[in-house]
Symmetry: C2
Subunit: 531 residues, 2 copies
């Protein structure tokens, strides 16, 4: 099995993506996650460009990593000074990483038009910088910026630039497809030419962008043509259309093409680690991302579901567990009945495919979906819907009213919202108040306070996630919203939903479903033998 070393640039090139911004603490957490996955290099920033990166490298010195090595990134020295005088290079050295990545120009146009250096000067800058850093004990990876565009424009010069890096002592020549415009065959031919010329002296690497939708493909093709170092970003984000998605590349190389990028045993952590990185980054993990997305093994079409139930191999390219993901079945108007039946039978095993109640439920689901409900993500609300339909439901309380108020200026620091609610349980009414830093928070407190006398276990409920989706954002502040709430009681987790044009009411509906779901589960557990 051939080895391919992985350099993850989530913290450097990835952080160029829109809306992505890491604190120093975030960076540390991401380094820990990537180390757990076991990539060889973690490119963590440019200590010369920004003080936050510098602070990170100071703190990173104390990290004890199992597998990965943190590397710093910088550019070749400026045209008009020596390496020793170049402030950015000095910052790079002060990061004290064993390995550094240096990017330089290999496209003649860039050297002359952007750097305003002569072609020979640019070669000297590359040679000098690599030699200087090598002499200071650093292992140097040379990022050949715009290599593919340069190779197309002036192959001889692009090769000379690589040679300058090799002469300077670089151990990896990483060919960067900076503009993301190269087609597969172009990329293959250029990598082949470089590995033929330099492959015996140094490692050849690949760094691609997704502007033509080919970042993954070009990385794989580079490996097939001799590259043994692949740079990318675990979740594929980055400037413009993003960097090469390493979660896809690692899985493709290791599960399908016979290369080894990380320890075999770590592949099954791929999905949970990707989820963690998305969370630290504070972006939703693309549900359709290959291998690790929530829908990567999700089946909706009726025909497919029937076949997958018969044999998963029929519609899955790998077993979801291999990468730590899982199989999911969704409802929809084209879904066969088999999956809805499967869900219904969980709480009533007497219902079969031909029971008339199944059509009723499907009809109701469609009607609610039309209003903006989306049961695919809300198992708790779906169970309540089915229970109501089959008569296995009774309300736990009656709402007389709720009232929620927001005021500004604040009466007390942090106190934005007030709620009042009146409920009735078996003839007893109860009035309760809540306050909080938002209307939903205040209603949650009030409802809990009103119910706890009757149902003490509501205090176990902890809300763990809250999402708001504006459904028809074109009608602006009068738009319909869907609120999803994820709750846990420590042992299990459920998601409920509410839809309304009023965000407060939508939240209220999701909240009530969450409380009722919990209370039903408690009764099920308590009277397990009776029901």
């Amino acid at each position: 099995m051939k080895n391919v070393e992985i350099l993850d640039s989530t913290l450097r090139d990835g952080s160029q993506g829109e809306g992505i911004s890491y604190s120093v603490q975030d960076k540390i957490h991401i380094v820990e996650a990537l180390d757990e996955l076991g990539v060889k290099y973690i490119e963590a920033g440019n200590p010369g460009s920004n003080p936050k990166d510098m602070e990170f490298f100071q703190r990173a010195k104390e990290l004890k990593l199992k597998t990965s090595e943190i590397v710093a990134f910088g550019s070749t020295r400026r045209r008009d000074c020596s390496c020793a005088e170049d402030a950015n290079l000095q910052s790079l050295l002060s990061a004290e990483t064993k390995t550094v990545v240096i990017f330089g120009k290999t496209w003649d146009f860039q050297a002359t038009e952007i750097l305003h250096a002569s072609l020979e000067e640019n070669l000297e800058m590359i040679r000098d910088t690599c030699a200087y850093l090598t002499s200071r004990g650093r292992n140097v990876i040379f990022d050949a910026e715009h290599f593919f565009t340069g190779y197309k424009a002036n192959a001889e010069y692009a090769m000379k630039a690589l040679e300058a890096a090799v002469v300077g002592g670089a151990t990896v020549l990483c060919l960067c497809e900076t503009k993301g415009g190269a087609m597969i065959s172009e990329c293959a031919a250029a990598v082949k030419a470089v590995t033929e010329k330099f492959g015996s002296a140094v490692k050849v690497g690949i760094h691609t962008h997704n502007d033509s939708g080919l970042a993954v493909a070009n990385s794989l093709v580079a490996v097939e043509n001799g590259a043994t170092h692949v740079q990318g970003v675990l979740l594929g984000f980055g400037e413009r259309t993003g960097n090469a998605n390493l979660s896809t590349i690692i899985a493709d190389l290791q599960l399908k093409m016979g290369y080894k990028c990380i320890e075999d045993d770590n592949i099954r952590h791929l999905t949970p680690i990707c989820k963690r990185v998305a969370e630290i980054t504070n972006i939703p993990l693309d549900t359709g991302m290959p291998y690790v997305g929530q829908n990567a093994f999700t089946h909706k079409a009726g025909m497919h579901i029937d076949a997958v139930l018969k044999n998963p191999f029929a519609y899955e390219h790998i077993e979801p567990e291999t990468v730590g993901n899982e199989r999911v079945f969704l409802m929809s108007e084209v879904a066969g009945r088999s999956m809805i039946i499967e869900k219904i039978q969980k709480f009533d095993s007497t219902i079969t495919k031909s029971s008339p109640i199944v059509s009723d439920i499907i009809k109701q689901v469609k009607e609610l979906e039309h209003q903006g409900y989306q049961f695919e993500g809300a198992d708790g609300s779906f169970e309540l819907l089915v229970r109501k339909a089959i008569g296995k439901y009774q309300p736990f309380f009656k709402l007389h009213y709720y009232k929620s108020t927001d005021e500004y200026p604040l009466i007390e620091k942090g106190l934005y919202s007030f709620a009042q609610i009146k409920i009735e349980v078996e003839g007893n009414t109860r009035l309760a108040a809540g306050e909080g830093n938002g209307p939903v928070n205040a209603l949650d407190v009030a409802l809990r306070s009103a119910l706890k006398k009757f149902y003490p276990t509501v205090e176990q409920i902890h809300l763990t996630d809250y999402k708001v989706r504006v459904l028809d954002s074109k009608s602006a502040t009068a738009s319909k919203v869907r609120v999803l709430i994820e709750s846990t009681d420590g042992s299990s987790t459920w998601t409920t939903m509410g839809v309304s044009c009023d965000v407060v009411e939508a939240s209220w509906l999701a909240l009530v479903d969450s409380f009722e779901y919990k209370l039903i589960k408690d009764i099920e557990k308590k009277y397990q033998k009776l029901i």
Copy 2:
């Protein structure tokens, strides 16, 4: 220039994606958009599987399309009946399309294990169905389901299945990579074998899925190996990880590889048409989507921006206008000063790169970004921030207080929220009330009512978009939210933002910025010569 015909399956395979559901009217609108783009075929559904699809085909008969042809999709006849007796095939015929797509099994395992047919029976089903539909005057495209898996498992049988379709009269053999698991070289070899064997008699097509991140790459490679018919989904959505993204494929083939898929003149409509399709589908268009995403030509890193300002060719693989997209510059902590300067100079041309105020503004932006603000998407709020920093701002009113209330049960149908606000303008206080179907709506009404006496032009403001993003969703109902509001006064459009743990306060802040921005622009226009 070689022609490649495109079949878009947004309405059939695409609609299998999670959260995607079209009304008949939506389908009509998508057909119109795709016809404008000029794809050859629009696969619009399976009339036998679902009554909504049937209704669509009835209505579609009246559509007058310029370029595209609507096609219906169905499967080979059932094992145990003739084509004339097969209800699905009869539905397919009643759709009265000139062309039909028929999918059949070409993987031996699927024939025996999923259909429970013998290998010979399955071949008869393919042959019969194609022959029957051909005899009824239909042009038949044969979708060879699971072809690549089948070819790997039993190449001889997979080829026999294709032959059965050719004998039955199919004019296109579309090879489907149903599980999305094939690597590039596998895909290339199989397509090559098929084009060598059948390419002189029929067209060869390709239909891929993105489970290995290679849907686009495998489609392009298939074309390079002789395929002249490409199936996919304009925006790439679909079951699991999605279908091949046609917006990327069309741009790659036509702008870079010398093939013709649609009229040259239509390529520049690609981005607007993709936006329209996303809107009809009610999904956000992936901002990082190649060619058509909002960030496809967006530049953030300081160094890149300097270079792009010097010469766009330095960091862009094509000109954004070619595909109807546009160049955007973003702010961020690594952004060079040049871009912030450029924005600042719009309203104060005396400020230069070295003005101390620039550092102050950058510091403030960083501080606010730390709190959850994100100026990248909120030009209006950014301008107000800069104006406040450079002293080109004065408040238009003073807020004494606002109070917003939500009540349930409703007092009046549709009336969820009430707002009361007290403001002061030049010593005159004004109390106003608002009501609406949500707290933001009610506050908007109240604020407008309070201000209009002093500033009549606030009535021109129309809120056109409203977004809520939960920032740290792990603290659940006490999370911080960012609200973005897009406003227009008919002639220009601006976006403003508010951040708070209270969704009502966040909306209020965005609302106030929107009103102030409008009032500043009015004054600028009125006193243009004086300022």
